[in-house]
């Protein structure tokens, strides 16, 4: 039960073997999201975490969404979460926005970050 709960929470889907799924971008992105999942929820009904829910963040203005108290520096940074900005952010958030409260040391390479964006887009609410 706990295991199933963990899976649903962390990867947003039932457990399934990577062997069968093949190594496509979505799957790689799902794996890369393990590096985000402790701080960021991705399901609409997930409880809040240290960071904001990422479900509908892509393409939107940074730090403007409801339900999370963003750092002032990020609110004032005037960023929009397009692909290029997100890539820079994931690589080094503190360089893009000095003083950000996102504490993250990136270990994902460019291919993995690209796959992560594919996964994040796949999770977004249709709009």
């Amino acid at each position: 039960m706990i295991r199933r709960f963990l899976c649903a929470l962390l990867i947003g889907a039932a457990c399934y073997p990577v062997f069968a799924a093949g190594a496509n971008d979505l799957q790689r992105g799902r794996i890369a999201f393990l590096r985000c999942a402790a701080c960021h929820a991705i399901q609409a009904d997930e409880p809040g975490k240290v960071g904001p829910n990422l479900r509908d963040a892509l393409g939107r203005a940074a730090a403007q969404g409801p339900g999370f108290t963003y750092s002032e520096v990020l609110r004032k940074a005037g960023l929009t979460w397009d692909d290029a900005t997100l890539k820079r952010w994931i690589q080094d958030p503190a360089s893009l926005v000095p003083g950000t409260s996102m504490t993250y040391a990136n270990t994902l390479n460019a291919t993995e970050i690209q796959a992560l964006l594919v996964f994040l887009k796949s999770q977004a609410t249709a709009r």
């Binding site: 295991r3 963990l6 402790a38 701080c39 240290v50 080094d92 503190a94 409260s101 504490t103 270990t107």
Partner: protein, 474 residues
């Protein structure tokens, strides 16, 4: 054979070929991944790998799950001998605990632990904080006299120049990977001040073997942790409940008393040989052991030179603790707190006041670094005798008012070798990049391979990284 039968057979055959290509010589009972070490790092790697359908087996050398998380059940107040405070920024620790149904509670803030109640025992004299701040014997610079010397040391090295938490391992900052003693030379401190700054230094035994870069990492870490608003917490029932719950949530086995002695990696898989004669085969191994524990494992092929050197050389912090049951709160009669900072053999005392009501159930005597050696050399009887005598020098009415329940010396455990990686000058620049880099089918985790928040969170982060490395290969 009908067309349909042939199709069915071909389909089965294809499935078999497919299976064979993933597990060329694997028996059904063999795991995909063997994890060495049932601490937070290894267990987090194991949990994440299982979520993606991999079969995992965890081998733990000791008879206990948790590694350097160790709740002392037999000591009143149930102190933590290992990782203790869970900050709001410890996202992985907190979220995993919550997902496993564990409860977190705000750590009680004991009135006994207030800064202004701290008792100083320096040069054989007992002083209140205010008395110490005004004392003619206080050799610290005037602005720093009201604080403990280790806090003063933090002020003296200045504000961390690291621009982000990962900066400690960035070659651009390796110029700071020098002895802090050199940095302090320019500040005109007396030898008495320098000596005092060395006592209770948790990041080296002397100022000469304390890395300025490591202190900046610690300082940046504190800055990052406090950015996330929220209380310091602990897990109800003891922090060790977390690794225990993680182990329980695994489908695969956690095998205790299974100490690896050799790890042999080939083209098709890895064999782990254990001291009990058992052999475990897997496609990958996650080695989530502290480096001192790796010293007793033969790796074939051998680890890359720099990694192998780090296994032998990287310093680990030395911490000796004595846990004393309070039979009678002796300090009350003396009108002082049991919360102590000293330059003597008993370096610090922390009252364990689980309820936060000022009634300490036990006291933790905490000795750091160089000070541990003289205690560790004593047998239990001699250590108890010395402890009683030294405590009575500070608190005359303590005689007969406490009972020694536990003695913990992390550096004496061959499975830990100390409390945490304590990078000496030059060691971050020499080893930080080499640790945590996969070596063929071997992947590495453990707090010493963490990149961001230190301690328990670093352990969790490292397990997460090792798991994603393996999953990314499949």
């Amino acid at each position: 054979m009908t067309h349909l039968q042939r199709r069915a057979l071909l389909k089965t055959g294809a499935a078999l070929v497919s299976t064979a290509s993933f597990r060329p010589s694997w028996a059904a009972q063999d795991p995909d991944v063997v994890v060495l070490g049932a601490g937070l790092a290894g267990l987090n790697a194991a949990l994440l790998l299982e979520q993606f359908g991999l079969r995992v087996r965890v081998l733990e050398a000791s008879a206990r799950i948790g590694g350097r998380l160790h709740t002392l059940e037999d000591v009143p107040g149930r102190p933590e001998a290992g990782g203790s405070q869970i900050g709001a920024a410890y996202a992985r620790v907190v979220s995993t605990a919550q997902q496993l149904g564990l409860k977190l509670e705000t750590s009680a803030r004991s009135p006994l632990l207030k800064d202004d109640s701290l008792v100083y025992f320096i040069n054989g004299q007992r002083l209140t904080r205010d008395e110490w701040a005004r004392s003619a014997d206080n050799p610290l610079p005037p602005a720093l006299r009201g604080m403990t010397p280790e806090r003063a040391l933090g002020r003296l090295v200045g504000v961390s120049p690291l621009k982000n938490i990962a900066g400690w391992a960035d070659p651009a900052n390796f110029g700071y990977d020098v002895p802090v003693s050199g940095e302090l030379k320019t500040q005109g401190l007396t030898s008495a001040a320098l000596h005092l700054l060395e006592v209770n230094n948790g990041y080296g035994t002397t100022l000469a073997d304390t890395s300025l870069l490591n202190l900046y990492y610690v300082q940046t870490n504190i800055g990052e942790v406090v950015k996330i608003k929220g209380p310091v917490q602990n897990i109800v029932g003891g922090n060790q409940r977390l690794p225990e719950a993680m182990a329980k949530a695994l489908k695969g086995e956690v095998r205790l008393k299974s100490r690896a002695t050799a790890v042999n990696a080939g083209a098709k898989g890895v064999t782990v040989q254990c001291a009990d004669g058992a052999r475990h085969q897997a496609r990958f191994v996650v080695c989530a052991l502290p480096l001192p524990a790796m010293r007793n494992i033969h790796f074939l092929p051998g680890l890359p030179d720099r990694h192998a050197e780090a296994v032998q050389q990287l310093a680990y912090a030395q911490v000796t603790q004595f846990h004393l049951e309070v039979v009678k709160p002796f300090w009350e009669a003396e009108g002082v707190s049991p919360y102590l900072w000293s330059d003597g053999p008993i370096e610090r005392i922390f009252p364990q006041d689980e309820q936060g009501n000022g009634k300490a159930e036990s006291l933790t005597v905490w000795i750091n670094g160089a000070g541990t050696a003289s205690w560790d050399a004593l047998n239990d009887t001699d250590a108890r005798e010395r402890l009683t005598k030294e405590l009575a020098r500070i608190y005359p009415s303590s005689h007969g008012a406490v009972r020694l329940v536990r003695r913990v010396a992390w550096q004496q455990s061959p499975l830990a070798g100390g409390t945490w990686a304590n990078w000496r000058p030059g060691q971050i620049s020499r080893y930080a990049q080499a640790l945590g880099v996969p070596h063929g089918r071997l992947h590495f985790a453990g707090e010493h391979t963490g990149r961001a928040i230190r301690g328990m969170e670093a352990a969790m982060e490292s397990g997460e990284r090792a798991a994603t490395e393996i999953l990314g290969l499949l």
